[in-house]
């Protein structure tokens, strides 16, 4: 079968005599990879870079004729991030946590991340405007504010991190369940999630709400994860997803403390298999040294106390918080090994691959460069077994993996690494190779007819590590795993048209002055701030 590309799009036909021809016979052709959740830009990521020179010293990339120099490993510099994703055949990245106040920073870094299209989600779960409007039951006003913030910060989806917990962290506490009251605001996490889920529907946003659950990283939290999914069950319509639980592995711990911690993947998979309003991503753990960073300040504090490693906290006024702790996942730690097992169990036990996507929550579970390894774990029982034999004894005994025979096909891998992610993101141009789609193509040098991925998994891993070709917007940017051309991608954002846009009056300006330490006019990004914006126009229901 031939694939024709013209003007950056997949087309029906093209004049073959004039066209450049790439012979991909005996190779696998997929749409360019889509990563739904990777921390690649913004205050937290960059402070992580600053925090860890030791992470960079041994992993450097020198300048070449076409590329800029940079450093790795778990938190690579911006250019290197773009190159490394591109070498693996990825072309679209979603940066999941942007404090609205620091939107400029996130976008400046995204502009310096070449080779990929990107978008970013503003953190809205603890935004005072959201808390106050939802508390007062003003869903439509809340929607108007959310529509405004999407345009003001050039955001793509509603990100909710530990709803209510981050506001409580302002004074050093946290919320413990979905029905705990947020101090000073008289609202519960349940109301925040449900409220924003309704807002998401009113605004017709392309993606669902993107939720990092309460109690993340605590034994017994799989109950909270299931509760969170349940709490918007009644808001779902006709099998369409309305909530995305991100890095679900970190929210799938069973047990009452770290000694009894075990996997809650089975229960979560059971729930997801019976409900169609949820999508998940894995948040797979890799045995390596990495840098954990989330907007979940209290969780990061807990991790600091647990590990004793250096700790960064960054609270953002009126909006959110953030934390960073370097961390090493060890095979011989029962907890870490169980975490490794949980991620794979989730992916393998959830029957429908369109509901779960491959991520490491880069760099929290491990750097994105380990995706090819995870692909082999999903495709080959032998590859899994090799790692299982090396992990902590108790974790091995409790792991469900030994009893799971499922092995992903290449087709399923294509779903969990691009098609499914593009679908749930509402990026209709991505994750597919139909006529009219963006010409983002990845070609991997592995013959699915000759190579049995369950046995020759090393070969598969090599192929996914270095794409034979990556085509971005119709241009060959990677050949044999090396960058041959640098391109800068687009930045998607949603331009929501509401019938009553947020009225900017003196009252609102005064409120801005009271809530933030910046003036109203300096809060939104000015027009022209992004060099390559790709607004998606949407008509809202309000």
């Amino acid at each position: 079968m031939d694939l024709a590309i013209n003007n950056g799009k997949i087309v029906e036909k093209i004049n073959e005599n004039k066209a450049k021809v790439i012979d991909a016979s005996g190779m696998i052709v997929m749409p360019g990879g889509v990563d739904i959740h990777c921390h690649i830009a913004g205050t937290d990521v960059n402070t992580g870079r600053l925090l860890r020179p030791e992470d960079h010293f041994r992993d450097v990339e020198a300048k070449t004729a076409v590329t800029r120099s940079g450093v790795g490993y778990s938190i690579p510099s911006t250019f290197t991030t773009g190159y490394r994703y591109s070498r693996m055949g990825y072309t679209t990245l979603m940066n999941p946590s942007m404090p609205p106040l620091e939107a400029r920073h996130t976008h400046e870094e995204l502009e310096d991340t070449p080779m990929v299209d990107k978008a970013t989600y503003p953190l809205l779960g603890d935004w005072w405007f959201v808390l106050e409007h939802l508390r007062d039951g003003l869903i439509e006003e809340c929607a108007a504010h959310v529509a405004w913030i999407m345009a003001a910060t050039r955001g793509y989806a509603i990100k909710i991190v530990n709803p209510g917990g981050l506001e409580a962290w302002g004074f050093g506490s946290n919320v413990k369940s979905l029905d705990d009251t947020v101090p000073h605001f008289n609202i519960t996490p349940r109301e925040i999630i449900r409220g924003l889920c309704k807002v998401n529907k009113l605004l017709n946003l392309p993606h669902t709400i993107h939720v990092h659950t309460n109690n993340l990283g605590k034994p017994g939290n799989y109950v909270t994860a299931i509760e969170t999914m349940k709490c918007v069950e009644d808001l779902a319509e006709e099998n369409r997803p309305n909530i995305h639980i991100t890095h679900c592995q970190f929210s799938a711990f069973k047990g009452s403390d770290w000694q009894t911690m075990s996997s809650g993947a089975e229960e979560i998979a059971k729930y997801v298999n019976h409900h169609n309003h949820v999508t998940l991503d894995m948040g797979q753990v890799i045995f390596t040294n990495t840098t954990t960073m989330t907007a979940d300040g209290p969780f990061q504090y807990g991790l600091y106390q647990l590990s004793g490693n250096k700790w960064v906290n960054h609270d953002v006024e009126t909006e959110t918080s953030g934390g960073i702790v370097p961390f090493t996942y060890r095979r011989k730690s029962a907890v870490n090994a169980t975490q490794w097992s949980i991620g794979l169990e989730l992916a393998l036990l959830i029957k429908n691959p369109w509901k779960i996507y491959l991520t490491t929550d880069h760099p929290n579970g491990g750097p994105f460069t380990s995706y090819p390894t995870i692909i082999t774990w999903l495709m080959s029982q032998a590859a899994r077994k090799k790692t299982i034999n090396k992990i902590h004894k108790r974790a091995r005994r409790n792991s469900l993996l030994t009893s799971i025979e499922r092995e992903f096909s290449f087709y399923e891998i294509a779903i969990v690494t691009r098609a499914g992610q593009a679908k749930t993101l509402g990026l209709t141009q991505k994750g597919q190779l139909g006529v009219g789609a963006d010409a983002d193509v990845a070609i991997y040098n592995v013959n699915h007819k000759l190579v049995d991925p369950s046995k020759k998994y090393k070969k598969v891993r090599r192929a996914f590590k270095k794409a034979a070709y990556t085509i971005k917007g119709g241009e060959v940017v990677v050949k044999d795993g090396e960058i041959v051309k640098t391109v800068s991608g687009k930045t998607f954002w949603v331009d929501v048209k509401t019938s009553l846009p947020l009225e900017v009056n003196d009252d609102l300006k005064r409120k801005f002055r009271e809530y933030w330490t910046v003036e109203y006019e300096n809060y939104p990004l000015r027009k022209g701030f992004l060099h390559n914006p790709a607004p998606i126009s949407i008509k809202a229901e309000v």
């Binding site: 940079g70 510099s77 400029r104 870094e109 609270d315 918080s321 330490t517 003036e519």
Partner: protein, 479 residues
């Protein structure tokens, strides 16, 4: 006449964004809301500036065309083996991004002014992390504010008014009324004493002793301010507590606080010249607060102990988080010195002292920081932008800096531009050119263009882009 509102002030790290300017015929005639430093810059920036590019011929700086100056600058950089590119803290992030590309292209060392100010703070962050926040968090929530070895009243004049004591947040009231009445009390006591001296024909007494007892306001439920410094500054006069410590004893005092908050008893009378009872009181205040914050200045980073002082300060903050909520923040000086660290870090992984001589970024302060390179006499060319190293570097470093060809990009006439071989005047960032800069708490804000620059002055971004493309041309032809 036009009024421009919401202007950011390109002076100090407080980076106020509520300035109002009145502009008449392309001249700023009035400034509202700014402090004395800010107003002085907006009103007088144009009085002492270079308008034409200069080039040194036969030992004298003579006027030249922009193209020639750019060409000469590019030649100097392209010919050099190990050039240094220094400054960057008073320009926009956009310019810094081009600067990094230039440094990478010429295989030089790029460094910024944090190398001489909060460099030790950055080393500490790399050692132990940092527990910080944005300034609004302090405004809304902090009920205990420490200024440690910093004097915002003089150096960051609106810091107290906008972010800490004299501002009203959601959970905290402003304390400016209390301050005014206390100030009134102090003044009238002084007046009474003076009158009594006159009546009783006493000689004017020597400077009063430092009062170390608790001020009455300590027992009110309100925001409290503690100042730790070696001398009684204006900030200290406004404080509820003032700990006047002996110079270079900060490390000792911080370690003592770390012990005191763990309820350890100390068998000494004084630490750093402060009675232990007072320190115990302050430690209790720390533990009792809802949210406390340390702001620390160069008095801590550049006195004896350097980054070890900050290590301890951050560790104390971490310890305090076991009992209450506590945060810490460096008082950054220039308006975009935070931004320069941020941009360096996202492009290279390192915040300052980045060496590109091997084709990839390398970082080893002490080896790759400019003062050390200059002291060892290793560089063979220099570019200074938006800073004044000749006035501020150690003498030996300056000698080596001016010995080699030196390019200066700066709107003003400074000792550096007077000693340079090529001077390219730029427009004033944040007044004549727009861009982005980062406040001391990492909040990015826009720099605005309020008036048109003189025709002969390009922006830093354009000048650097021209030099970069010239350098590329020269390197292509030489290959």
């Amino acid at each position: 006449m036009t009024i421009v509102t919401g202007v950011t002030c390109p002076v100090c790290g407080t980076f106020c964004d509520d300035i109002e300017l009145v502009v008449e015929n392309n001249v700023i005639v009035d400034v509202k809301n700014a402090c004395a430093m800010g107003a002085a810059k907006f009103l007088n920036y144009a009085t002492h500036r270079n308008l034409k590019p200069l080039i040194r011929k036969n030992g004298e700086l003579i006027e030249t065309s922009l193209n020639e100056a750019v060409g000469k600058a590019a030649k100097i950089l392209a010919d050099a083996n190990y050039p240094i590119l220094y400054g960057w803290s008073c320009t926009s992030c956009e310019a810094i991004r081009v600067g990094l590309e230039l440094a990478e292209e010429v295989g030089g060392v790029i460094d910024n002014t944090s190398t001489v100010c909060h460099g030790p703070s950055i080393l500490s962050v790399q050692d132990v992390g940092i527990v910080s926040c944005t300034l609004g968090q302090i405004r809304h929530r902090a009920d205990l504010i420490f200024y440690w070895a910093s004097n915002p009243w003089s150096a960051h004049p609106r810091h107290i008014e906008r972010y800490t004591m004299f501002t009203e947040g959601r959970f905290q009231k402003s304390t400016w009324k209390g301050y005014i009445s206390r100030l009134g009390g102090v003044l009238s006591r002084k007046r009474l004493r003076r009158a009594a001296n006159l009546v009783l024909r006493r000689d004017i007494p020597a400077t009063p002793k430092i009062e170390r007892h608790l001020p009455y306001t300590m027992f009110q439920k309100k925001r409290k301010m503690v100042v730790v410094d070696t001398r009684k500054t204006r900030t200290a006069e406004a404080a509820d507590y003032f700990l006047q410590i002996e110079p270079n004893k900060d490390y000792e005092l911080l370690q003592v606080f770390r012990m005191l908050i763990q309820n350890e008893e100390l068998n000494v009378d004084k630490v750093a010249g402060v009675p232990i009872e007072l320190l115990e009181e302050v430690a209790d205040v720390m533990l009792d607060c809802k949210l406390g914050v340390f702001f620390f200045g160069l008095g801590l980073t550049m006195s004896e102990g350097k980054h070890r002082n900050i290590d301890t300060a951050i560790s104390l903050t971490r310890d305090l988080n076991q009992r209450t909520k506590f945060l810490i923040m460096p008082m950054r000086g220039h308006y975009n010195v935070t931004g320069v660290n941020v941009v360096f870090t996202w492009q290279t992984g390192y915040p300052y002292a980045v060496d590109f001589s091997r084709g990839y970024p390398r970082y080893n302060p002490g080896e790759t920081s400019v003062i050390d390179i200059l002291s060892r006499g290793e560089s063979d060319a220099g570019l200074s932008i938006a800073s004044d190293p000749v006035a501020h570097f150690p003498r030996e470093a300056v000698q080596n800096l001016v010995k080699n060809p030196l390019i200066a990009i700066d709107p003003e006439v400074t000792p550096t531009t007077l000693m340079a071989d090529v001077v390219i005047p730029s427009s004033f960032m944040g007044i004549e050119t727009e861009g982005t800069a980062y406040r001391m708490d990492h909040v990015p804000l826009p720099l605005k263009k309020v008036v048109e620059p003189p025709k002969t002055c390009l922006s830093d971004v354009e000048i650097l882009q021209r030099i970069l493309s010239q350098v590329r041309k020269l390197r292509r032809t030489s290959n």
